[in-house]
Amino acid sequence: MSQSDTANDLELTAATWAVRVDRGLSADEQSQLAAWTGEDVRRQGALIRALALLTAVTDPSGMAANDPEPVRAPGLSRRALVAGGALAAGFAGLAAVFGRQMVVGEVYSTPRGKLRTVVLADGSRVWLNTDTRVRVHYRRDRRDITLLAGEALFDVAKDPARPFVVRSGTVNVRAVGTSFSVSRLPERPTEIMVREGLVDVGADMPGAPPVTHLIPGCRAHADEAGEVSVRHVGVPSVLKALSWRKGVLDFQSARLEDATLAFARHTDPKIVLRSPDLGATRITGQYAANDPKAFARSMSESLNLRLTEADGVLYLAR
């Protein structure tokens, strides 16, 4: 027995061996390892534990039901979401069976006010925000997604041999296995938020700057020429910004004007700001995406504004 093995020492040695086992052992190393584990059954256990943990963190897609928190879109049961995903996966499977040539891509979309989640053939998951369209085209050597409009979050199944590329206009967002969102709204630069993993952003343009590497917690904007501006806002902020998946709009010091636009993307009635300086007011809070009226009421109370309604439009004024 090796009484001297403290938990920490034991773990350190086990970790070292686990990493070596992972990359493959030489014959010499094999006998060294045998000598080490042979002395104490706990070492063997520590090695297995280290290997399992290495598997858990380097191969998270291999873990069963490695789901993010389940999402319930307003007005949609989870069962319906799951069924939709399964159906989509079925279509993708069919497409794969019928040969790659005829696959020109499947389009998935959401109408205004609806959310949707789609499970792709490789297990990758796409969450579509309101009023969004994506085209999915899986090739042998890469997974091509085109964000035609709107906003989507991608939970990408890891496949180093087939990069996952999301195209938004001329902007390409490239990943292997990770979780990030891309949004393409009219008259705005493409916005990318990274929840997990690493993502490269660049433009498909001659003379475009080299790709920008993004890490988790990054929020980046990329224009058509491939100019990328990055701000590291932190993962919690990114998660908040992605709460649309739960039918919630979470504003963190957002401009009131942007907030009203966010509601307009989801549902009627429209909110119109009557005082020109109002748009720049910063607001913070969580609101149900399908209830602009409640939001307007809350704004009128907290900012001391006058709220009126006419012809299905909500007006806010000082």
Partner: protein, 257 residues
Amino acid sequence: MGVVFPRRSLVCARRTATSIAAQISAWARFGQHLPARKEGCGSPFSSVERMSERLVLYTADDEAPGEPIIPSQDRMRWIASHVLPHEPTLRAWLRRRPVAGLETDDVIQETYVVLGRMATVEHVTAPRAYAYQVAQSIVLRHLRRARIVRMGSIDEVDLDTTPLDEPSPEQQTHARLELQRLTEVVKDLPAKCQQTFMLRRFEGLSQRDTARRLGISESTVEKHMSRALHTLMAALRQREPGSGDPGEIGIRRPQST
């Protein structure tokens, strides 16, 4: 109880022998409440209910030592996805039932050895409960070798709680997410170490590609990975259950029907 003590242990102070006997039967009684006993499922624990009579134990050192066991990728995934997330609760469960001369760590390590060495896990329908059973059998074996137990160090064992069925899918997912969240400790490591871990973890780059991308040697990549993994192992060991695993999900009072 059909337990036959070796003569020598009976020579010990009577009190010790009695309390050891009591403790063995106490630990063994767990078996009567243990879940997931499918008829004829053929696991070493299909007879766990008879454990209290026979103390049939399947433990790590019944096998020939020496040969390092490197379980298959599939087994690693199985352990990673079904057992590892519940390690904090299992540790807490063991800690509440201290046995002199037996560290929680030791029981945990041996549990992994048993799970890694099993020929197949196909018959295991309730992996978490199974892991508890394995841990329990290791404690029992230790107690059976009563000579190692020092006098006066045995306290009463809390018997009212037993692990029951598997956690709900939500709890399962939660426990796994907690395990994924563990990787946040890597953020406190030096930048190169962190980058190495990230490339290997998220981009699935090989050791060689990681080295090339970061402009460092492969052996340095290996060192960084070892360090990151070591940090994670320590963090998992120190993880308190409850913060993540919703409460004592694994431990409930036996239901009286």
